[in-house]
Amino acid sequence: MDEIELKTAPVDFRFPTTNQSRHCFTRYIEFHRCVASKGEEAGECDKFAKYYRSLCPGEWVDKWNEQRESGTFAGPL
């Protein structure tokens, strides 16, 4: 069994508050902007995906994914 790597989204000094909702939201947007500009295949965006998956409750991600598909997502993509 290979060793599990203990690694997660780092501390981001743009979001020093207890409330981390914006941290998660920003990482989600950063990922999708990155994919939009560099394409899915580029590995550069994977870290943003890892970050938002660590920070966002799964329910939120599902909701945002649905909204993006139906074109009602509120964030700047």
């Binding site: 599990i4 203990l6 997660t8 501390v11 207890t18 981390q20 909702s21 660590s54 799964g58």
Partner: protein
């Protein structure tokens, strides 16, 4: 001294509430240690003031008893003593405030990069835990619900209304970020031994960080009692060595 305490006084550290408990549970994080130290520091001033005030009170009652002192004194003003009893308490308050603020701000600060992120999501009436650091897609790979074990099902030795079916397993001696949120109503994620009490608010994700210093099982309860079953959604954190945490995660990922 510590050796004597370990050998004779403390048989097991208390990480859950016990009957007729008056003090805090034993600290397992630096934060809780800080909270307890502050409590003891403040208690020092508290006892001083209590003794002083009681002494003044008893003394006044004794000396100005109506039988020994039938004619009351008519002093209504004393500048010196008024200055003294204003300045002196403010200095005491300052001595209490300095360590209190230092602790408060150090609790908020998240400086060290955490090694894992755990999301604790409150539901009516259970908790969901998401370990999403190991996901490779938006599909959740490691998530589970944690329900209280009902009174009828609990086994001998288990704490009543405190044990859950799925415990939160965390590595000890590791910086952990906990993201607390709720899917329906206000909840709270509180574990006394870890010095954590954080409200779970729908639509908002609160962050707190812990560093569990010793392996053990820590019990806590919902601390936002605003509905019928908040009392029946306890929190159980199990701190294990890093290696065991690794194998726990890989077992769940395979399953």
């Amino acid at each position: 001294m510590i050796l004597i305490e370990r050998l004779f006084l403390t048989i097991a550290l208390s990480d859950a509430a016990e009957p007729w408990q008056l003090g805090s549970q034993d600290a397992a994080t630096p934060m809780m240690q800080g909270i307890m130290d502050l409590h003891h520091d403040i208690f020092f001033f508290l006892i001083l003031i209590l003794v002083f005030v009681s002494w003044m009170l008893v003394r006044a009652l004794w000396h100005f008893h109506y039988q020994t002192n039938p004619i009351p004194q008519r002093i209504v003003h004393g500048t010196t003593i008024e200055i003294l009893w204003t300045i002196f308490p403010s200095i005491i308050l300052m001595f209490i405030a300095i360590p209190s603020f230092a602790l408060l701000y150090s609790m908020d600060e998240v400086v060290v990069d955490p090694a894992i992120t755990i999301k604790a999501i409150g539901h009516q009436w259970y908790r969901t835990y998401e370990y999403s650091d190991y996901n490779s897609s938006d599909e959740q790979s490691l998530t589970f619900d944690s329900y209280m074990i009902p009174e009828d099902d609990s086994e001998l030795g288990q704490s009543r209304l405190l044990e859950v079916d799925n415990r939160v397993v965390v590595p000890a001696k590791t910086y952990i970020r906990i993201i607390i949120t709720s899917a329906d109503v206000l909840h709270s994620w509180a574990v006394p031994s870890l010095g954590v009490k954080c409200d779970a608010v729908p639509g908002r994700s609160n962050q707190t960080s812990i560093l569990v210093q010793r392996e053990g099982v820590y019990y806590g309860q919902c601390s936002e009692i605003r509905g019928t079953n908040h009392a029946f959604m306890p929190i159980v954190v199990e701190a294990v060595p890093r290696k065991e945490y690794g194998s726990w995660v890989s077992n769940l990922l395979i399953a």
